[in-house]
Symmetry: none
Subunit: 198 residues, 2 copies
Amino acid sequence: MLSPKKQKFLDYIKSFISRNDRPPTFVEIMKGLKFNSLGTINWYIVQLESEGLIKRVKGSNGKRALSVLEKNIGNKLPMLGLVAAGMPIEVFDNVEYVDVPSKYINDENYVLKVDGNSMIDDGILDGDYIVVKKSQIARAGDTVVAILNGEATLKKYYLGKNGVELHPRNRKYNIIFVSTDDQLYIQGQVLGVFREYN
Amino acid sequence: MLSPKKQKFLDYIKSFISRNDRPPTFVEIMKGLKFNSLGTINWYIVQLESEGLIKRVKGSNGKRALSVLEKNIGNKLPMLGLVAAGMPIEVFDNVEYVDVPSKYINDENYVLKVDGNSMIDDGILDGDYIVVKKSQIARAGDTVVAILNGEATLKKYYLGKNGVELHPRNRKYNIIFVSTDDQLYIQGQVLGVFREYN
DNA sequence: TTACTTACGAGTAACTTACGAGGTAATAAT
DNA sequence: ATTATTACCTCGTAAGTTACTCGTAAGTAA
């Protein structure tokens, strides 16, 4: 938990970057935050770096520059894209971060937005968000994001007599029996679902 | 069991953290709780720590050493009880705190666990958690927690020709037309739903 | 040179901790 | 019926630590 002053310092850097599309120099921070010494700025930078919240990188022209790591963006996970039945996952180019319960915060997790109704009988509706944990394996009964022959899909994973079965949860769709000819990758396991009302 | 004064003290810390995203200083607690001595604050802290409800993070002493145990930390809201169709809300006596997206953290919100299937067609299943905002009013289309003649229920709120209608979202249940003889209290508006998989 | 980053020593205010003392109120002992 | 005893709570202040700030100087890359 960051002290208020460090938080303010970090917020300034973030907002500077979003305003100017480049990180501030030490002098700019000093003026913006009304400090009187570069030593103070450096002290904060060292502190924040040691706490893993920012890192220093070489700027484009060789001068040093700061960059803020994504991980400090609140209790948020990247929403990587849409998952819809029968389509590759559509990845957004500018990733949004969405607020999730803090227990899900972890490097292995990400968020997808659900497109379509293939899981409607499990209460996963079009437009819901799912928290996915990267994982190549699944247990029977897990809800998983799978890539079958290049197409992504959200299904329940089961083991039947003849191997893996992917069950949609919508009576209109059929169970998929995965044969040995098929290429199946489990991409992740669904940990949670959430939905917002306005 | 905690004495009332200690409970109040602990509650103050918890609510401070959820309001400000950081633990209070001794002075802040002193002012907030209208004590006149830091010694009193320290006495409570020592007491609560020895009862295992609080811990100090920074070893010996130092600034901002106060921190509440994980159980109470973070983005949690009280889960006040169960809401089931046709029953008063069942209030738990020892309130649990559940993790929710941080945007929902605020004194007006709380969490209920859903018991029953009256909203299944809206993807709200038995066992799901709902985030509820205390509110006596509702807009048409809102999902609300309402008390109708003493019975709590989770329904969608609409205005029909003859006044308020409460719609379940399960074909097996009927729409409730609220008459002027009925006592209807809107208790809160549902802001979000979430569900966990194991 | 110019524009910037790093490093260091030292000071101060903010904050926590320790300690001694005292004041109720309830229960037990005389 | 008075007096200890104990648990619970409150105060004031001194001492100890840390977080933050400064100024200055040296280092590094275009």
